[in-house]
Symmetry: C4
Subunit: 122 residues, 4 copies
């Protein structure tokens, strides 16, 4: 299995507020990363906004032969991503990985889900 | 990060009516664009219908290193896109971009979401 | 804009029963096709099942510079697709097209949506 | 129609609990496979976790010219996939296939759906 070093997700949005039991049902926006290599991957995420400079990189690691599901609402270094504002992200990894974008929206009584494989860059 | 100059979204639909607080919860169909280049991208969107000539281009800009989330229900020049009618769109940009398609359907009490990376043309 | 001649959708399912006003809210599974060429495209759809021979081709046309959103629950020639049974589809076109798969599930009080760009074959 | 021999799905999650009539409405996570070849495909699925060794391969077959929709919550050999824990999967086939990932989440009164074509590896 060979992935890519660079991925993009143009859609991003952390809803304001949520319903349901915490934390499983809290509204969240996730980046799911799969690293099938036999070495740890170092992943750098840059977040883009509509009207200000990009923020990042947010540095993450994914161990060898592991998956990691990162929640954008838990990003805090260099800074938290604001709720209620659109954003986009670029994911760069030193090893080939595969990325998928998923959102659980629980602002109302019932949840909604979306998911798509991210865009694999060169 | 390198994107593509041309993208397509065969599915498009602006539901008639909506529920929930405006404008966050209004039903909408969005085109999310990411421009990671260090120059402003000029984006032209052509909208296709089942039974009449295409309309456009709708001209948009996305500043350098920014994301823009365009709502099809807010397109008005050269003309508004009618509610309750299927459409498709082709997005052409002078710089490489990445496009994602998302719909929030709030016609009933609870929302539904869909999203997919658009189709990257040559 | 250049599409592909062949597309595949491994997931297909027409739910049994539905809620809400007809026909907008009836559960349905759709194939959205975009033909940006200046000639009519002839599209042949073959439907695959878990435990019997494929059925088709279902023949459709998409006029020049038009989009068509076909509902699998309205396919009837050579035969209707049964409700409540998984299926998959292959779409072949004489001209390059772009295909997207969308489902509206309205079996319960609130709708659910899914969508993905189909898989572009060689 | 030509597919690929290797596919990846970084997102996986079997929700704990469910609502609605069994088994149609039970929460599930599915892998939809299409084999358009005129021979049976042998498919091996490896499941990755956040913090332990991958499990597999889970061996499946898809007959010639058939589709198969496998539910991850029914995988049991070499072992069941735990509920409430993220996972990812890699699908390898001796024949070219096409893979799609779908989840029906019925933990609350109303369902949510997500779907995406899986990532086609080399």
């Amino acid at each position: 299995m060979t992935g890519k070093h660079t991925w993009a997700i143009p859609e991003g949005y952390i809803p304001e507020g949520s319903t349901g039991p915490e934390p499983e049902m809290r509204s969240h926006e996730s980046l799911c990363v799969l690293n099938t290599a036999d070495e740890e991957a170092t992943v750098e995420i840059t977040v883009y906004f509509p009207d200000r400079e990009p923020v990042g990189p947010y540095e993450k690691t994914v161990p060898a032969e592991r998956t990691a599901h990162f929640r954008f609402d838990e990003f805090d270094d260099p800074e938290a991503i604001p709720e209620g504002e659109p954003f986009a992200s670029v994911i760069e990894s030193d090893l080939p990985i595969v990325c998928q974008h998923t959102r659980l929206d629980s602002r109302q009584a019932e949840n909604a889900l979306l998911s798509t494989i991210a865009y694999p860059g060169e």
